[in-house]
């Protein structure tokens, strides 16, 4: 991206003038002739050059601050990612400031602008559940702000990214339930507009297929929006009201899994005997619920470390160095507890 961004040098070369002339022309300096100003501004416009004073000052003076956009701070996984980011950033002499989108597209747009205006040297972002338009991120990249996406990435913007192997995690969770003898496994998915939710669903389907079990559409329910266990409770009630209810539930996150557990217990059904449950994220305290929850451990701390490393590499790249976007994929592990193990 850095390579493809138009610089003052490009404009200077194209017009056969010095970079300093272009810079002064763009600042409407009295020493520069009106003709040169006109030529420079017209070409700058044509090439989509962004003459932003803050971006300029950024290049001149580093703030040694990394901005992080996070969907939800109360989400245990995300708070561990921040700890990983800080671990690498502070060691490299950067401080970290965090902005929460609270799963709102509108707020995410405000946050990106605020971080830009607060002169951060680079931004780490994970997109909100609501986000379907990525112009606010593209605009940062166009202005030359180094960016790396983590966990909830966006393929529309060409940046480095750190993800977990969501397909594999979905596959392993489902395979584990099959291995325990469950045959009618439901999936409470996250919003399928998020790549990671779609990947987990694919992993779930593939595991069923590989083990000769049918993919039953009515057993796949989508939790399009949720900040607590309420939606998951509704969806679980819906699943348990089916003519042939599921004998296991693989939930896209631990909050949903715990919501499902509440409903199952309320109905007098036993976990794991009547219904097995697997969550996703290994939230704090999931080992202390009754029964303890089987879940996918996501390496949040490591994800934060990797994302910060990639970003700092880009921030500290030399002016003319072209950084090729990288994708780092981290492996998860299944933590088997009582909620999915029938005796």
């Amino acid at each position: 991206m850095k390579g493809s961004q138009v610089t003052i040098k490009d404009i200077a070369k194209a017009l056969g003038v010095s970079a300093s002339t272009v810079s002064r022309a763009l600042k409407d300096h009295p020493d520069i002739s009106p003709e040169t100003k006109k030529a420079v501004t017209e070409l700058a416009e044509k090439l989509n050059y962004q003459p932003n004073s803050i971006a300029l000052s950024l290049r001149q003076k580093k703030s040694n601050t990394i901005g992080v956009i996070i969907p939800e701070l109360v989400h245990f996984f995300f708070s561990t990612v921040i700890n990983g980011i800080e671990d690498v950033a502070y060691a490299a002499g950067y401080s970290v400031i965090v902005s929460q989108s609270n799963e709102s597209y509108e707020r995410e747009v405000v946050d990106t602008k605020a971080l830009f205006n607060n002169r951060v040297d680079g931004i780490l972002a994970s997109v909100s559940r609501e986000t379907k338009n990525y112009d606010h991120f593209q605009s940062l990249v166009n202005r030359g702000i180094p960016m790396v996406f983590y966990d909830r990435i966006c393929s529309a913007v060409n940046c480095s990214q750190v993800i977990i192997d969501d397909f594999d995690a979905g596959y392993q969770s489902t395979k584990h339930l099959i291995d325990q003898g469950y045959k009618r496994i439901a999936h409470i998915s996250g919003p399928l507009s998020l790549l990671l939710s779609a990947q987990r669903l694919e992993g779930y389907k593939k595991a069923l297929e590989d083990h000769g079990l049918p993919v039953v559409e009515e057993l796949i329910v989508e939790e399009t929006e949720s900040k607590d266990e309420r939606v998951a409770k509704e969806l679980t009630n819906k699943l348990l009201d089916l003519p042939t209810p599921p004998d296991a539930i693989f939930a896209n996150n631990d909050v949903a899994a715990l919501g499902a557990m509440l409903v199952i217990k309320e109905r007098g059904l036993k976990i794991p005997d009547n219904i097995g449950v697997v969550g996703f994220s290994n939230w704090r305290f999931t080992s202390l619920t009754e029964p303890a929850l089987t879940t996918i451990d996501q390496p949040g701390f490591q994800m934060g470390q990797e994302a910060a490393r990639l970003l700092i590499k880009e921030i500290e790249a030399k002016e003319d160095e072209v950084i090729e976007p990288e994708t780092v994929v981290l492996k998860t592990s299944l933590i088997v507890r009582k909620s999915s193990v029938r005796n």
Copy 2:
């Protein structure tokens, strides 16, 4: 505080020159004579005037950003405080950036500087467990940055603050255990360098005294540093190894309470029959543990709202308006669940 800070006007008045002359003298402007420059800079130094270009730009141009210093993002209570801050801030046209001290004094110092350098309009802070020196906060106040403390306040710096009634919360938790028939109640306190920990301990002692129970020093243990349940587990083992062990534990936070519960269960003791447990904070999922945990519900969202309101009032005060620091005290409520109720 605003009133006590030295301004350009004060220096101008003392020297009998215009404020504009002082301002230009401080910027080493060629129009000002060397004598005037010398007089201005000497007096500025004597009066501890802070000629900070960023502070100046701050006054000239608002960033419409509020900075928040938070001890630990993974702490459920603190993440709800941020949600409350954002609720008020975004509605008033401010974005919010958060910096985590991770309970480290050193990092808290770096964070305050980073937020200042990132030109926030004001700062909301809760001090780390480690912090015993408050110069970094005082320095912000001296530079005219509006500040409000929340939850973990510091009495050394004269700012508005939003707290909960920690004494009352400690009292009510202990009284509840006494009402349930527990007679030998231990307390796992937080670090007593934090005012709130000291207040909760005082409430605990007063409740015992009011109900004719002795304050037993060996039943009071201090969790000086802790980010998970490990220290609480050690302290609980120590308490249960006493010649006369406690029949109840009131813990300073839910993580400590859950750590205590793990140890109690490991030893084959029953909660609440053998030992009652009360936590503090009403973390997510504490209602789902076995048994469900009795705890103090802290109004985190409301605390964030109040703190943001006080800060924005101060940010938007007119130049010469003196804002008197306010203290807002919020009430907590005891959430009674199974862990402390003997049948």
